[in-house]
Symmetry: C2
Subunit: 346 residues, 2 copies
């Protein structure tokens, strides 16, 4: 509709002028009160607030923001908006932002480095005060001018590359060691690992933990027991079928993340009746894992705590905390539910 | 670090000047090519592109955006970043945005009307070209100045209130009628409904469908068979326990959304052994619903299609499609898996 019409419709709305007239003060005084600026006596301020109350005046945030150039806000760059792992993480970051009077703008890199950079710089250009980043890039020097310009930046889930920055991570290698040791403790010697693409920090760390646990128990790792790549169901299904068949099949699988685990659960549910059950431990917990039969044994991360910790660190930086960049590692937690407790002979 | 240091570190990076020198053209010409502006011959453009390629020049997006004031972008206002229903919807919107050369910025209202307005206006102030909104507010007149100023707006999952705007919805009442008719067809007469808070469009529509289906089969609805409110597990658990006990318990439950269904599945899994199974049909599908025992019968929405349809409509508007606001309704789909097929006598 043409602005004229809009203006007409809005003619009835109280304006700052109306507030000024009712309070018997100047327009600038109303603006000072509305924008929380100084230079207004308590008595005058209360008169203005009374007038705002009485008239039901609501400042036009959009106009105000355009004038002031910004509202308090932070940006969140995720890897994938649709991965349920990031949902509680995002909400936790948003809750901390809200508690600090900031809005959160989120977007995802879809695991494309250029996309991460484009999104992070676009958020900076829109004057966010800080960024929480789940990185896809392996070179974050593009952020140095922004950081130098005062944009606080905290990495979460994966660390920054080629710059020194705050990071809040899960102890991925430690969690993976615990998962594989659990399977070994139940008698397994031929244990497969299906993980996300190599060079993704979390995927590499979990592979490292798998290898370390096998080595610590004097077990060799056959090349065809390890498969790193996209977590698309078709690939995971094919790799699991391959590892679980042949003359010398694996008797247990360590699934590298929740996407892999969910597909593995489907594949095993289909096999179940015909053959001896394969033991399964997954990295990342997921909704309803406890209601499946068998329940799915996992190494649970705490994505909400990752997000909350990262956002709180970001706001401490914005409040001027100046100590050098920190790396916080949160432990994973083994949750035993049944799928990881089959012996090779069950 | 001080900008000086940064400048030094970046001293080695190729600049537009380097590109201009190598291509033997002026700086303005390079800028035209880099920013996709007109007024450059194909021959000159290819020389500039060759120089950019050879030098590995990358424009500083941040600086460019600050200069130009914007990149192409759209905003998405969700109800809850952590509700898995919105994950595929968000990703679909982002994929359409990407296909149209736009970035997506998302945030959530946490179902607070003021929060929705604050977020939507803050996105407008940051010069998004358009908004896709899952509304929490019941008065969207605050958007009229933005719409008049040319911001395209499409509502999804729930319609706009008090303004005439594009909306892409699921046929909630129709899906609810189908769910309840399915339970009636399996012999149920005492059917409970637990839904989200009243005045949420989807909750009200699903309640309407429930009542219409009961009425269509000549079945009275007892007041204590209907419970609308927060979908917190504690409330859902208490209400389901109440409906399923007493002298005249319900024999079936229609769950108003995925949050309610997941809690109902937990409660029923705990009862199962002791008492006769309660039939359950849920609105919204959810991951692994098919792997539970019994599988969960649902009315599936297609959140990815909702998001894709809304975003495509938004970009058609941005391309100048001027017909009057449209309301598109996508059908729900009954998926039979076992939980909804118990008779009252099983």
């Amino acid at each position: 509709m043409p602005p004229a019409t809009t203006a007409a419709r809005y003619g009835s709305r109280p304006t700052m002028k109306d507030v000024a007239a009712r309070a018997g003060v100047g327009l600038k005084t109303v603006s000072r009160v509305v924008n929380g600026e100084t230079g207004v006596t308590a008595e005058t301020e209360s008169r203005v607030r009374a007038a705002i109350e009485a008239l039901g005046f609501r400042r036009n945030d959009s106009a105000r923001i355009l004038r002031k150039g910004r509202t308090a806000s932070i940006g969140l760059v995720l890897e994938d908006l649709a991965d349920p792992f990031y949902s509680p993480l995002s909400r936790a970051v948003e809750e901390v932002a809200r508690a600090n009077g900031s809005l959160l703008f989120a977007g995802s890199s879809a695991e494309v480095p250029e996309r991460e950079q484009e999104l992070a710089l676009a958020l900076c250009a829109r004057r966010v005060d800080g960024l929480v980043i789940v990185p896809a890039s392996d070179d974050h020097r593009y952020l140095e001018p922004e950081i130098a310009a005062g944009i606080a930046t905290v990495f979460v889930d994966r660390p920054a590359s080629r710059i020194d920055a705050d990071a809040v991570l899960t102890d991925n290698a430690g969690g993976a060691r615990e998962a594989v040791a659990h399977l070994i403790a139940h008698g397994h010697r031929r244990i497969g690992f299906i993980g996300d693409r190599p060079h993704i920090h979390t995927a590499d760390e979990r592979l490292r933990g798998y290898r370390e646990a096998m080595a610590a128990h004097g077990l060799a790792v056959r090349g065809d027991w390890v498969s790193m790549g996209a977590t698309a169901p078709e690939r995971v299904r094919a790799e699991l079928d391959r590892m679980a068949s042949g003359p010398d099949p694996v008797t247990a699988l360590f699934a590298g993340n929740n996407r892999v685990t969910v597909t593995a659960v489907r594949v095993l549910a289909e096999r179940e009746r015909s053959v001896r059950p394969l033991a399964l431990v997954g990295f990342d917990d997921f909704e309803l894992a406890d209601l499946l039969r068998p329940g799915v044994t996992v190494i649970a991360q705490d994505p909400a705590r990752l997000g909350r910790t990262a956002a709180e660190l970001l706001f401490r930086r914005l409040d001027g905390a100046a100590e050098s960049p920190r790396r916080l590692e949160l432990p994973g937690r083994l949750i035993v539910r049944g799928s990881g407790e089959f012996s090779p002979h069950d």
